[in-house]
Amino acid sequence: MEVVSEVTPTCGARDDVWIPSTCGLCYGTCSILAHRVDEVLIKLEGNPDSAVGKGRLCGKGVSGLMTHYDPNRVRVPLRRTNPVKGIGIDPGWKEISWDEALDEVAERLRKLRAEDPRKLFIQRTTTVTSSRTPMQVFAGAFGTPNRSSAGGGLHCGNGAHLISGIMHASWSVVPDFQYCNYAVYFGASKGHGAGHASCSNMGMAADARARGMKMVVVDPMCNFAAAKATEWVPLRVGTDAALALAMCNVMVNELGIFDAPYLRAKTNAAYLIGPDKLYMRDVASGKPLVWDSSVNEARAYDAAKPDDMALEGDFTVNGVSCRPAFQLLKTHLARFTPEWAEPITTIPAKDIRRLGTEFGHEARVGSTIVIEGVTVPYRPVAAIAFRGSQGHMNSVYNFLAVDLLNQLVGSADMAGGCLGFNPASHGHPETGRPRYIPKPGPDGLMVTGSWMAHHVPYPIREPRLPEELGMQDLFVLCQTSPFSDSADREEMWKKFELPYRPEILLNYGTNLLMSIANRETVAKSLTQFKFIVSFDLFLTESSEFADIVLPDCDYLESVDSRPNFPFIFSLPGGMGEWCWPIKQPTVKPEGEQRRSSEVLIELADRIGMREDLNAAYNAILKLEGPFRLQSDRKYSYEEVCDAELKTNFGAERGLEWFKNNGLIKWPKKPEEVYWRHFVDVRVPIYWEFLPQLGEKIAALAEPRGLKIPRHYYEPLPDWIPCPAHDDPGSDRDLFAFYYRDIIHTNSFTMENPWLDEAARLDPFSYTIAMNAETGRRKGIEDGDEVWIESRAGRRVKGIVHLTEAVHPEGLGIAACAGHWGDGMPIAKGKGVFFNDLLELDFDHVSPVNLNLDLCVKVKVTRAKGARR
């Protein structure tokens, strides 16, 4: 990487370099250049060479040095002296040596592993993508299935990632900013504040805006995305499915708009469904049948030409009357009229009808476009969703209903449409790596080519009596589970005869006490661990429950060969470049901090699981040939990184090469970006597997006294209210919800004084957004301090900001603030701790994917006397 010329002449500086690396203040992992002069970092800038961030950083990224040089960082290993654990209880930290710390941790882990490795629970923060590989590898080698990403899946992911995975072979979805003309956002801020590749998307979204892309933002609050939208559509929190289904209905039944060829060739729309809601299957091959209109008989889906497949009609096959899945969908949709949706969503029927019509017309069904000499279908409309709309009891249907809009007009992964983040890669031209392409699985349905979590979303695992403490092996459609911390976890484990109990928690950063739900419940679960080890930068509210805290190196002191891989996560979607940057140390730690990646290797060695660790690295990093790790040798993490880079990019391009060059990139091909047109896979618009799955889970659950509500397991999406929607409480008249602040990452960055200062100047960051008219009605003035109280009687306090920019029934709270611990003094007392309002038990998660319900019906009262 050529050294960029000095910005401000620092005369006589011996050491003066710009080091290419990767930001770590959120999971966007933008490429940075760190300017070091005389061993001190004086500036972080974006790396213009990189496709990730394209040389520009968000406000958090440019402020990284204030986190890095925070005097409150943990610098030495700590052991608690006070055996009593609880919120606000002083652990009585005592500084200990690394050897003492590692000996104790290794000893306990060794014993536990011999006894039952599953008793180890491993948890990492989503914020640091680089922690994924080392923690996953360690868990694999240790032999525990129990891994979690704290609030991660529970809040943002169990719906979004499951459905993006099954329908788009990716972790998440985004509009094809380069070609899209009409995007509808259902509770996502992509390109305007948060989300995957968030910084890169800001530039791409701005280009789209300048180009004239229309953007409709469906959101209870007119915050970041809505601020830039051509139209803001305020809705009642959690009712997205109702709006999306009504829009689908308008398109299909009122306007007759849908992409028949796409539905026939790329989905299971033509599969014949019997009265039992299941596929009609070919007796011999067991393959699902379609109706071949060229010969007027049923055939296996892969025996008929797509053009001949019937999408509509009633048929009889071997005496059983059946209908194509699309016919069922069409009939199903008919009941979701705009008039039906209006009272649920509060959006006027005429507007819903208009939105459905606009979406259908803008889709230009049937059109094609030539991109770099390649002809692909042109569907310049996208319906995207993320954390907001899927963070509810109805997680699956909310997200699925939204994606149906794309599937019906065939805009899924087509030019201008709704793209998964890079689902297909042909690899670097010289090495053909990394190569992954979605492929057909059971019943011709798509299996992703690349994935983040332990099991791919499809094919669906067989539910079984749980061996994982999160019971992901019973509720197989969930990624992250509430049962590692929930109020009813012991009850669940008893019910389902979990053969063991977790004893040791190995935590990486996660501040779960704040980031999951009400702290009382989470605290209780934490106190039940016999021993907690935490890799930390700061003593968070959660680390106060740890027995040993290990001071970690931060992103500017660490190394990672794949900060931005898998590409399905935070590499910008659409045409452009493949880009594989690395993360490398830019300075030495000021204290005794050690890299958790190295510490884990050291621990593995002391536990006596070196072979298993190396084997796990070989498997998970797909190391090959001369670069496979030998089972008996001890490798440093740098060596592991070197091996992965050489495996992928050739012997001459190891860690050293990347340290100098920062990254490698090559152009994307239309065949990769618009892969769906070229790959013969189908996605389910009809989730035939759901009813069966429901039955299978019920067969295990109901004899043990856990009712599985079947209406969540129907093959076609519906709108099902959240507990908040049927809360009878008359004085609880507002729906509290949260949203990401553009200058804060979850619970992390309130400790950064630059970001904190900016947030204090912002009208919303640390306040509760209440509709001005609602405030007037309640006699609440701007700046009043109020109590927010949930049905369960949980209360949080905050300062009200009256605004026109929020739904009259909504109460918008930014970020994951409200720290109370002393370990992050700048963050302490700033903002509002929304999560303390959230219940954490089976009754408040989706019974399908266990996504937490993130809307709460609340009562708001003025804290007495308070007014400022």
Binding site: E231, W232, P348, D351, L761, E773
Partner: protein
């Protein structure tokens, strides 16, 4: 909470707010500037009338007051040690004030020494004394005029950018001078033509009152920011000092007594009271007007509002809560 962090908290609140009051020229060291302004006015006025009434004691007092004013100014500066750099008077009224003060103090000393020091190497009426006389006179004139212009050239604070202020502050400087004389005389029982002074005092007092009313009238008729400042003065942070200090003590008392004095000549005590009250009023008029200063707001800029309002005209959605 250290002073600075106290200031910091205050600044954060100010920057959040729609309207941001100026604090640099009124709070903490800022107060010294107001004192300095006030003293320099009184000094110049006193010097003027002491010359008119050939009253050497007055000259001495005026000189002392000016010296105090200089000290106050220095105390206010963030970098007092660099005060000597403030001579770039091309367009800066602060610089002109500084030059005025320098001339006054420099010339004054040349003029006064022979008057009070018999052993002085030069005599009154000598060339040096004459030079001193004219230098001090020039300084005096600058001091009488500059501060009003310091405020009226502060484009950032609409409330101040009014041509009335220079006139008003000139009036107050003169009045301050008369008042100071009244006080001095009454205290050492010297009998100057106090009724003439009283009349003068009354006349300036009334004209000052008229100017203030006119000033407020104009301001409350202009942009929101000025109106807000007027509110600050009449109902807000500056109200007490304005009503009590400026109006009641500063104008009410002197004018009241002055009017009663039109008939019978005033007792020395009454004269002293008139003087003191006027002097106090002189301070508080500056204090109140400085305190009511509000910075111009950016989002209130006409273009920005019109142009941005356009985007707000999104397709209307009639949402039923």
């Amino acid at each position: 909470m250290s002073v600075t962090s106290g200031r910091y908290e205050q600044l954060i609140q100010d920057l959040r707010a729609e309207v941001r009051p100026q604090r640099e020229w009124i709070e903490r060291q800022g107060l010294l500037l107001i004192v300095g302004h006030f003293l320099s006015g009184v000094a110049a006025g006193t010097w003027l009338f002491s010359l008119v009434f050939h009253f050497p004691a007055g000259l001495a007092v005026a000189y002392a007051i000016a010296a105090l004013s200089a000290a106050a100014h220095l105390g206010f500066l963030g970098r007092p040690a660099r005060f000597w750099k403030m001579w770039h008077a091309r367009s800066s009224w602060i610089a002109r004030g500084f030059v005025g003060l320098t001339l006054f103090l420099g010339g004054g000393v040349l003029y006064l020494i022979p008057i009070f020091l018999s052993a002085s190497p030069w005599q009154s009426g000598s060339l040096i004394a004459q030079a001193g006389y004219f230098l001090a006179l020039a300084g005096m004139i600058l001091l009488l005029f500059y501060k009003g212009f310091v405020y009226s050239s502060s484009k950032g604070v609409p409330f101040w950018t009014s041509p009335i202020l220079p006139a008003l502050y000139l009036a107050y400087a003169l009045r301050g001078g008369v008042a100071a004389l009244l006080v001095i005389c009454s205290f050492n029982g010297i009998n100057l033509d106090s009724s003439a002074l009283g009349l003068l005092e009354l006349w300036i007092g009334i004209s000052a009152a008229v100017m203030i009313l006119f000033y407020l009238g104009v301001m409350s008729g202009s942009s929101p920011i000025e109106q807000y400042s007027v509110r600050e003065l009449l109902r807000g942070r500056a109200a007490v000092s304005f009503y009590v200090g400026t109006l009641l003590v500063g104008l009410g008392v002197p004018i009241g007594i002055g009017l009663t004095g039109l008939g019978a000549p005033l007792s020395l005590g009454a004269v002293a009271l008139v003087g003191l009250a006027s002097v106090i009023g002189d301070f508080f008029v500056k204090y109140s007007i400085a305190k009511a200063g509000i910075y111009r707001s950016l989002t209130s800029s006409p273009h920005w509002r019109d142009k941005s309002a356009a985007v707000a005209g999104v397709p209307p959605l009639s949402v039923k809560p």
